[in-house]
Each structure stands twice: as C-alpha cells, then as structure tokens.
Amino acid sequence: MAVITYLDAISQGLRDEMRRDENVIVLGEDIAVFGGAFKVTRGFLEEFGADRVIDTPISESGFTGAACGAAVEGLRPVVEFQFADFIACAFDQIVNYAAKNYYRWGIPMPVVFRGPSGGGFRGGPYHSQNPEAWFTHVPGLKVVQPATPYDAKGLLVAAIRDNNPVIYLEHKHLYRRIKEEVPEDDYVVPIGVAEVKREGSDLTIVTYGAMVHESLAVAERLSREGAECEVVDLRSLSPLDRDAFLTSVRKTGRALVVHEAHLTGGFGGEVAAIIAEQAFDALDAPVTRVAALDVPSPFAAQLEDAMLPTEEKIYTAARDVLEY
C-alpha cells in the first residue's frame, strides 16, 4: 500500500473505475487537455481519449444536463465542477431533473457530481463554499463528503457504481495536506455508513469533511486534559447513518456538531434535531454546533479565519459542552 494524498486517492479511484468500466466518462471545464484545475484528471485524456474525457464549455447547466441524459442512456458520467461554488449554475438540472427522475419514472440515473469545496486558503466568496445543505434538502440525491484519502477513493468508487445521482464534495484544503495509506486494490466505502474515527466516552463530536481533522486534533488535546471525545465522521450526509451518532450520544450524553458550512440551515441543524428527537433522555448538556459564521466567505485572511470554524473554536465549544 502506498501513502498517497487525498487528491491522488480521488484521481486513482476515478482512473480505476474508468479502466474497469468503459461506460464511465468524465466531463467538466478544463479537465481534458489541462488535466483539471486541481489536476485530478491529469493524464486521463491521453489514456482514455476525447470521447470519454470531455472538456466542456463554461456552461454548468448544459453539461450537467448532458451528463444526466447520458446517464439515463447507461453511461456513468462523472461531472467535475471546477469549484463547488459553480454548482449553483447547474442547480435546476440537479435538483429538478436528476433528483426526481427515479421517483417519477423508475428510470435510474447513475451520475456523479464532483465538487471541490471548502475554504481556508483565501479563495474569496466564489471559491470557498460548502454547498452540501443545498442538496441534502432535496430528496433523491445522495450526498457524500470524504475526509480521508481512504474514504475519498472508496466513496468515489461507490458513487460511480451507484445507480443514483451522487453529490461528491471533496475538500480542496485536504487535497495535498492529508496523506494516508490507500490500498491500490478495488474497494468501496459504502454510501450511508458513518465511521467512528476516534472512540471516547465523554463527548460525541459529529462532523464530516475537513472538520474531521480539526475535531480529531481537539479530541487529542482534550484527551491530554482528561476528557475523551468520540469523533463520528458522517462521511455520507444523505442517506444519513443516524444510528452511528445516536449510539455514540447515548453513550456520552453530550454532543457537539461541527461543520465548515454556514451555521443557519446547515446540516448540523439536522443532526442536532435528530439527537433531540431520538436521544433526548440521554442528553446531559445542550447539543451544540460549531460552524462558519453566516456571512459569505471573505477574502482577507483575518476575515476568513474569523468566519471559519477553527480548532480553537471547536476546542472552546467542546470544553463548554463538557463542563456544562
């Protein structure tokens, strides 16, 4: 097993699936000749040819709709949005076409929408967003958000093989920052299954995406101070593995929900509501959220840091819940 980056894991999963199944095609802006803005598809054009690695015009709704149609016809398109922010341009095709198609007609649509998401590197308002909650609100879409190279590859393979539209949000900040041993073999991380990334008895931190790493760092720090946090990485937001975090909260009696997306209407609200509804009697402290402030992602470092959840903010909130 090689130690590879999160980005390489995505690239590897995509390449493996294209080798395995000729129905898998990729399309997006600058992905063929240029190899993608983040180089996820570097070398793909040479290996798979222009019929399967398609540079699209700057036309998100157009190529998203095309991917949906091709998926109905049996191809398994993987659409790359150059930045997840731009997925807004394709919103109608995703939420009104892809999401509802199977419910309406019983006709499967196996399409994956990859969205490089997330902030923390001064991308400003249009290159930093975390749009998962736009899609978790829509029945018929699966939404996944891997935090580690292993999960990134396994979830991408699972998404490509899934017969439904899957929103696959990959965090740009993890691309080259996180490395892990990843099997070169074929494996799948099943969609809809969370993972406990660290066990603990005193506080449950429910999180996903980049914040898994911040949360683990906080757990480590708190452990040195005598409190054990259980870090539940949701991995999939839809379908959601409720049992994973409910079981944990029933054990610890305390829950902190952490994500990088905005607080209001964020997915953490859903998690908090489920805990309140289904684990009320287990709660020994209020369910608490740590999320980005409700402002657009600002450019200047001082502003972006003030806006994003940070390890320090998670730590403070965790102490608050633990000491309640």
């Binding site: 019929d51 709704s61 157009g62 190529f63 709709g65 095309a66 949906c68 149609g69 076409y97 017969n163």
Partner: protein
Amino acid sequence: MATENPASFLDPALDRTSIAPESAIDRDQLVTWYRTMCLARTCDEKLGALYRQGKIVGAVYLAVGQEAICTGVVSLLQPDDYFSTVARGLAGWFLRGVEPKHVIARWLGRDVPPSHGRELGLFLADIEHHGIAPYHNGSMASWIPSGAGFALAFKVRKQPRVYVAFTGDGATSPGDFYEGLNFAAIHKLPLVVIVENNCFAYSTGNAAQMPVENVADRAPAFNIPAEVAFGNDIFEVRRVAKRAIDHARAGNGPYLVEFKTFRTRGHGEHDDMGYVDAGLREFWERRDPLRLFREYLAGAGGLGEAGVKAIDDECAASIEDAVAWAEAQPAPAPETVTDRLFAP
C-alpha cells in the same frame, strides 16, 4: 394586449389553407396518422371535460391545434430513436404506442406505470416501451441539455440514433436552450430540436419574448442549420423534419426546425385565452391541422367523407372506453409515497 398580426407571425409564403403530399403516400400510413391525430384531439376534448367535472384536479394542459407536428416528426423516427415531449405532443406519444387509457388514468392520478401517481398526465417518460426519454420540466428548455446527453451517449457508442427534443417558443429564452445547443453543436451530437412556435408563451406573445422574428434566427449562434416551416401541414412537417433527422443521424450535428402553429386552447384549461384577439383565432381556425388533413383525406386522399367519419367515430368510441378503464383504476396507496426514491 399582446395580440399578434398573423401576417407578421406567419410568412405568407409558408401559409396554406389546403394540404397535399408531394408524392403518393401509402393509404394505410395516411389512415394511421389521421387516426393518431384524431385520437389525440378526441382525447384532449375529453380531458377538458373531465377537468370541468372535477375528475381531473389541479390543471390540465391540451395539445389542440398542434397535432400535425409531433405526428409528422415521430412518424419519421426509427424504433431506437428517442424523443421527449410534454402532452402538447400527445399525438406523438400515441403514434409510439402509448395508449389513451393510460394517459387519462395518469391525469386522474391513478396507480398506473410508469409514474404510479407521482406525476401529472402532462408528462411521460418510458424508454423501455416507447423510446420516450425522461426529462424534467423546469422550463421546456431544460431538456435540451439532457437531450444533448442522450445524443452524446449515441455518439460515444457510435450508434446511428437521434434524439428529438420537442419544445416551444417560450423555451428558447432560458439559458438551457443555449447551453444545450452549444454543447451539442460543439460535439456535433445527433440532436434535433423541434420548436413548436404557437404564438404565445402562456400569455406572452413572441414580440415580448424575443428580439428576433423567428426562433430559427437564433441558430447562427451555434453554427447549425435551422428552418422555419408551417406546422399545421403534416406533409410539410414530414418534409422538413426528414432533412433535420437525416442531417443529425449522418453525424453532422444538431438541427433546429421551427414550426409555426397555434394553440387553440388556453395554456391550460384554466386559461380562457382572453389575451388572444378574435381575428387571430379565426385565422388559425381555418388552418387547424386536423381540419386540413381531414379535408385532404376526404377529398384527394380518396377516403371519402364516410371513410373519414368512420375513423372519427372509432376514435370517439375508443376514448369513451379509455375513460371507463381509467376511472376503474385504483388510486395509489398512501403508504407507497416513500417508495422508489432511490434506484437499487
């Protein structure tokens, strides 16, 4: 008041009040097309009645006045070609084997496939049985991109198949129209766009919708061929559409045809068309596609009045049977509401 000057809407060179094929057509084919159009007309009128009786709830949208276009175009398709249309292309569905009883049952919200009560009768997708590809209905432009996707799949697999998107004049305004055609044109995909220009996007006339006289005038932006033709003459529809389909099938890329026509009923049956002036209605009444076809068939077509009336009567009886069947179908069970959200 957004009334249209008929002369400016329809180039007098395209206009006609009688129709005939350029060359002889097999009589069985003629009867099939006429029966299809007549069945759609009869079905639509029945749907209007059911709506007024309160048996169809919500809204009902009819295709009256536009039957020649879809009939003519679909008559040119190969069995493995795909097309998408809302119920404005009802006759096209029927020509591909969709049964009126199923359409009516869907309008009544009954538990019949493939939607099982999840969609209005306005929409239908059934690839397996009828080659009708699924689309969504944000606007009628939204299936130009997905149509390009079907065409992309044909091209990637090197299959000589085409996808025909039926859409309307109003649907040439949203971005999807451009994005879909742009994508298809870049990749020379076998996509045929049939624009049924029926004068109005709901209540808003062409002049308030677009700065060009014809939808086809937009085609140069995509460097694709486009034509304007009279949509109420089934023979003219077939002549023009054949060029388009052949072009696309040969790998030359998309083709756009704009058929001028007129919707003689409201946008839906809840719309009394107060925005259309009497002169325009009269103009198009004389050019009703079913009437033009009927006059040809009863006359030069050789069926005679009795022969045509026999078909009319047969359609009327068949729709009555279809309604009885549809009304007898069960409603979907409430507990099925969460079924079939995700494909296995």
